[in-house]
């Protein structure tokens, strides 16, 4: 065979780059979540075209931003075998703190910065309780969530903090502004996904996070600082919850101590549905965000089908169970096939 004949492309090798890309796409942890989201949007859109109007789809993503950010932050902990159920309490306390500061004359941007620092400090508290005192993160952060909500309720006297300067640039830009047709909040989410994905995939910290999740003993044996890495995960998760709180404050123009109920469950469920297993080991920020958007899409879609409101909680919970179960079954099958 001549060299020319050796190098001639066969039909299968000609499509190898495309096939490899498709194989990568289908094998991605987030593929199931995005496929389910796409299928849901298509099915509902066919039956109710108003569902796929740009306004409606934008509204869905915009209202998913808060839980999606929390899910992205939680991914850094889930992959290391930890969890943070205080994210919703942190979100609420951050918005109340910022609202109270603004109400008392502090510049909104400065107030937001202070509130986000407070959220990081909450993350530090979580890290201390889990890693130093040694309480499992499930219990520690669940209790911390109660503390934070109680504190938010106490400092706000149980009432909404209203009277925000809605014409200030903070509220105008973050709450009502848009860029290239998308609300600023969605751009913040996109930026967060990009940054967090780079952190996870291309930084030493991200490498350590994935190694700890993959095999804790091996990571310790290799000299990876497990405690410090997990602590950073808690700080990051807390800070992101604070950012979500600021976006919520900017949009809703009030601090509400009763808001965000159940957000921690949706954030964890969204992260898991998106491809972050509860058992740890792998992480996908994009998947976590898609999972959170999927959950919100389900509850909004129910409106279009006029499902009685009293059934909506049942329907949303059922979808979570089905999606998480299927993901778990699929992982087990994949792991079995690898052995």
């Amino acid at each position: 065979m001549t060299k020319l004949e050796q190098t001639e492309l066969t039909p299968s090798s000609r499509f190898a780059p495309v096939t490899n890309r498709l194989r990568w796409l289908v094998g991605a942890d987030w593929f199931s979540a995005i496929s389910a989201l796409g299928a849901l949007v298509v099915v509902v859109g066919v039956l109710h075209p108003a569902f796929v109007s740009p306004t409606q789809l934008t509204n869905i993503v915009q209202q998913s931003v808060y839980v999606a950010l929390m899910a992205a932050g939680i991914s850094f902990l889930l992959t290391q075998g930890e969890v943070d159920l205080s994210v919703a309490g942190n979100y609420v306390l951050a918005s109340i703190t910022a609202a109270l500061l603004i109400h008392n004359g502090v510049n909104p941007w400065l107030a937001a910065g202070i509130a986000i620092i407070q959220s990081v400090i909450v993350g530090a508290f979580n890290a201390f309780i889990v890693l130093v005192i040694g309480i499992p993160s499930l219990i520690a952060t669940l209790a911390m969530g109660w503390v934070l909500r109680g504190l938010a309720s106490a400092v706000s006297e149980g009432k909404q903090v209203v009277g925000m300067p809605v014409h200030d640039s903070f509220f105008v830009i973050l709450g009502g502004g848009s860029f290239l047709g998308l609300p600023v909040a969605i751009w913040v989410l996109i930026l967060a996904v990009v940054i967090l994905t780079v952190v996870l995939r291309a930084t030493p910290f991200g490498y350590r996070v994935r190694q700890i999740g993959s095999n804790l003993d091996a990571a310790q044996f290799a000299g990876i600082p497990v405690g410090r890495t997990k602590a950073l995960g808690f700080l990051l998760c807390g800070g992101i919850a604070g950012v979500a709180g600021m976006l919520g404050l900017a949009f809703f123009t009030s601090g509400d101590p009763t808001s965000g109920g159940g957000f921690e469950l949706f954030a964890v469920a969204g992260a898991v549905i998106g491809g972050n297993p509860l058992t740890g080991g792998t992480a996908t920020i994009f998947g976590a965000v898609i999972g959170a958007i999927l959950l919100n899409t389900v509850s909004v879609a129910l409106v279009f089908f006029n499902i009685p409101a009293v059934w909506s909680q049942f329907a949303t919970g059922a979808v979570i169970i089905i999606a998480v179960s299927l993901d778990g079954l699929m992982r087990r099958r994949r792991n079995r096939n690898r052995l």
Binding site: R23, V26, G27, F31, S32, S35, A36, A39, L40, V43, A50, F51, S53, T55, N59, I60, Q63, G150, E157, G158, K159, Q160, V162, G175, G176, G248, F251, F252, T253, S254, D256, P257, T258, S259, G261, G262, S299, V300, L302, V303, F304, F305, N306, I307, P308, A309, V310, W311, S312, Q313, A318, V319, I322, A323, L326, L329, M330, R333, R334, N337
Partner: protein, 365 residues
């Protein structure tokens, strides 16, 4: 071997994706069978062509369900109306807002909005009213300057006074002692207004009485168990109080249960028409309830929107006070019968709602 494993994985993923899509679709199709007449593209006078919606605070409180029932009653007798309803399982603006926005995409003839938090809805409501969809607010104030011109509500201060006027019939004018007010909604504006009314009426009519509270009976989650525990604690701390009052719904239920369990007789009064509270009145444990007649709010708001869509009737502007009703031993049987079914509610309250609409200037300010 690797290709075989890969093909199994691919097949597994395809199956997973298909199952999730089928599951979601099945849930949606269940909704199709229970929905009002479909017809996104129906036009003019066809059945279901007038698309109205009601978005309310949450599904767990009976008072809010009554507002929904009032709205549904209008649709039940007018096949032209396609009414969509939506509410989250817990009161939270961030949960109600996406549902409200979704509803606004299809229910263009008008939306009834019942939210206990106005500010978070300012931008979305303004966007929706600017697009030409009328919004009527019921029960709690709408966001200011958002294009909502009609607010149907109660004078909650007056409702508080009504309860006291009824309860103090059993308290001598020169009585000295305590009257305890407990509330499961310490931060809910309509309930705060009712407490103000109670306190004002007590100060005016029983000046020798000391008002204790309002004490929060919400607990940490507002559950009925925590509410009962809170009232149990309040009673044990103030066992000789002259009366126990509440502006909220669940409290009257707990007050009745408290007396039943402990075999005591207290002078108790509350608000709203929770089934347990009605039972407590029937059994003599609760002396009086004041009903804000929530059904009427949903009914009147929906009927006004329907008339606007069908006949071009202008939607009135202002604050509409639907009034309240004292429920005591004298009329409890009639009220229980009225509350027993949607049909009975429509039969009893429909004419009242229609009369208010026909004489709207009496109720508007």
């Amino acid at each position: 071997m690797n290709s075989h494993i890969n093909s199994l994985s691919r097949r597994g993923r395809r199956v997973t994706v298909a199952l999730v899509a089928v599951a979601a679709s099945a849930l949606m199709l269940v909704g199709c069978s229970t929905s009002a007449p479909a017809g996104d593209t129906a036009k003019n006078a066809a059945p279901g062509s007038v698309k109205l919606g009601i978005a309310y605070w949450e599904t767990r409180t009976y008072a809010f369900q009554l507002m929904l029932k009032g709205a549904q009653a209008v649709a039940s007798v007018d096949p032209t109306i396609d009414l969509t309803s939506a509410a989250p399982d817990a009161g939270d603006p961030s949960k109600l807002l996406p549902l409200f926005q979704a509803m606004a995409q299809t229910q263009k003839a008008g939306i009834v909005l019942q939210t206990l938090a106005a500010d978070p809805f300012f931008r979305p409501v303004q966007q929706i009213t600017s697009s030409g969809t009328p919004v009527i607010a019921i029960d709690a104030p709408p966001p200011a300057d958002a294009g909502v011109d009609l607010f149907i509500t109660n004078d909650n201060v007056a409702l508080g006074k009504m309860l006291v006027d009824e309860i103090i019939k059993g308290i001598p004018v020169d009585a000295k002692g305590e009257i305890v007010i407990g509330t499961s909604g310490p931060a809910v504006p309509p309930l705060i207004a009712r407490v103000e009314g109670m306190k004002a009426a007590l100060a005016a009519q029983r000046p020798g009485v000391t008002v204790v509270g309002p004490v929060s009976t919400f607990g940490t989650s507002g559950s009925s168990q925590e509410n009962y525990s809170a009232w149990d604690g309040i009673w044990r701390q103030h066992p000789t109080a002259l009366a126990y009052l509440s502006p909220a719904a669940q409290d009257a239920v707990s007050l009745g249960l408290l007396q039943q369990r402990n075999k005591v007789k207290l002078l108790a009064g509350g608000m709203d028409l929770e089934p347990g509270a009605l039972e407590a009145v029937q059994n003599g444990y609760v002396t009086a309830l004041v009903s804000p007649e929530h059904w009427l709010k949903g009914y009147i708001a929906t009927k006004l929107l329907a008339a606007h869509a069908e006949k071009g009737t202008a939607i009135p502007k202002g604050i509409w006070n639907t009034g309240g009703l004292v429920v005591n031993a004298a009329n409890i049987a009639a009220i229980v019968e009225r509350q027993a079914s949607d049909g009975a509610l429509l039969k009893a309250l429909g004419p009242i709602g229609d009369d208010q609409i026909a004489n709207s200037t009496k109720y508007l300010k």
